[in-house]
Symmetry: C2
Subunit: 378 residues, 2 copies
Amino acid sequence: MTSHVTQGPEPQYDRIVSGYQTYRHASPFVCDWGGQLSEIEIAYETWGKLTPERDNAVLLLTGLSASSHAKSHPNNPQDGWWEQFIGPGLALDTDRFFVVCANLLGGCYGSTGPSSICPETGQPYGPDFPILTVRDMARAQWLLVDHLGIDCLYAAAGSSLGGMLSLQVAALAPHRVARVVSISAALRSHPQSIAMRFVQRQAVMADPDWREGRYYGESFPHTGQKVAREIGTITYRSGPEWLERFGRRRVNEGTPRLDRDFEVEAYLEHQGERFCLQYDANSYLYISKAMDLFDLLAPRPDGVEEVDAITSPALVIGVSSDLLFPVWQQRELAEHLGKRGNEVTYLEVDSPYGHDTFLIERDRIGGALQRFLADAPA
Amino acid sequence: MTSHVTQGPEPQYDRIVSGYQTYRHASPFVCDWGGQLSEIEIAYETWGKLTPERDNAVLLLTGLSASSHAKSHPNNPQDGWWEQFIGPGLALDTDRFFVVCANLLGGCYGSTGPSSICPETGQPYGPDFPILTVRDMARAQWLLVDHLGIDCLYAAAGSSLGGMLSLQVAALAPHRVARVVSISAALRSHPQSIAMRFVQRQAVMADPDWREGRYYGESFPHTGQKVAREIGTITYRSGPEWLERFGRRRVNEGTPRLDRDFEVEAYLEHQGERFCLQYDANSYLYISKAMDLFDLLAPRPDGVEEVDAITSPALVIGVSSDLLFPVWQQRELAEHLGKRGNEVTYLEVDSPYGHDTFLIERDRIGGALQRFLADAPA
């Protein structure tokens, strides 16, 4: 219950971040809000083979906390976060597609982020890292796609923040994205989801061990980040499933306790603890903030709403029990794209798992994705 | 962002807690989970006049953070939390009813709670306060009703935790409650609402200034309780209203910040700050926990579900946008009471204000309450 000073080594992320490749972009990267990184590195992994025509690349965009390790491979045999969705004959069919997944700019799994060493100072960026937007992250993805020599993506696809990113990637270069897939994302963050991420950031920043973001080598805001991830887990996973899975069962016998007592609480605590060993707190703050700032309905300097640049056929998937990106936002996105004349396939999945359904419902989500990639005209 | 040690006087609750009366129950109070208080005090306020027949008393039960000060009166002219619902000709018509509202056992507004001095030790109870249940709180309310010489309540009514309490008061002594009103409450807490309160308690307990609950005279877990109340406010108030009221407007110009930036964030921060000056952190933990433990479907020692003891005509009101006590729980409650043969009036209010609608929608909530109290047979 008191704050912890990390003893010994920093958290190790080895299991989920190894075996990736890195593209170093040695030119300055100017961020939307004016900050600048003198160079950036993008860590990425690939599956399947690029055709000689270089026309079968699917760019898979990750959510806030996922790494580029979406699927096991010889250089990292650990299961990836979409293990059952990627492979021969699966939703992202590696017999057919060249799948690319990169770590987010701002993250902590190999791409440049707040825990990276700033070349100018020789110290971690920490709170001097510039404010990021989803557009910044999408531009970093395009730098990688350019580096791989791919002119046009067969598809850009993602869930949650990854869905925001796939839309943003398409809005930035519509002629270079043949198909776009948004699962449990939105046109923009609405105030309730901003509020839910705000309290998570507040929990991290309330921890004295956060030290205004300059904790590297000194401490880690373990307690605050644990609370933050517990809150996050409510927004990701709560739904009818919890009634069935946990109900009102308690883990303690006898007199209840003010701390962990019900099974659902033990579950949240486990998720919170685990996340603290896997994710950098400042990355959490910056990427969470970027999600809040996301707004494809905001007009560009030329007066056009950014979303209206998207011309690709689109697959939009929403989940009935999603608390964070509710189903009305899915309909809004599908309708908005449809009104602009895009070919839109809309699927509403009635599932009890909430926002994280895209990690679980392989047959329904994966099946729809597979059909869309097979059917949609280039 | 760092933890605060309270300088100077403790938080002052004067504006909302003065002018109350106190009933001292000088016998031991044994709690459901076995703890014991050697005596308890119940702070309460009343409006209107008790008839000579003592048959017009309405017991108003409060939510987690409300005090007994539901309505202004000469001894405390400050507006109460249900100011517009109580008075001559209003929902709780003081020309007709004798309205009684007491502070919760476990609270911090005059009734015995964790910040009270334990007679045995001469020190505040702090974390040695026994685990409380809603039934304990309801039994304390009955001690007050007995003290006031009231045999049968014209009605027991409440919202949120107050609705749980009105049901519990009726279940404990069905023949002494002629009518029961539950607004935005439930038969029991479900895992998502337990989860939402758990993370609030975690935020308080993560603050080093909480000191395992022994902070009196030393510090106050201001930062943690602020985060907790920010989370709580999301569960109380988020809904379609926020889209209209805040949208995506920011309070800062220029580069966004990781802390308060959007209007909705400034609103949450204000609510969190204000609450820290009004409420004791340990009371928050104990009462929040009691809400989680509430389960009227749990069988009593005689095998009967507690709810089935309730025989009074009931008014059940739910709100479409309630995140914490969702509308399916309102229907469940109404149906359950109806199946047992109770005369049930069920109202579903379509309002954008979420759980806290009972504080806002005077005409619809207050109107239904007024009609029910006028019409329902004794």
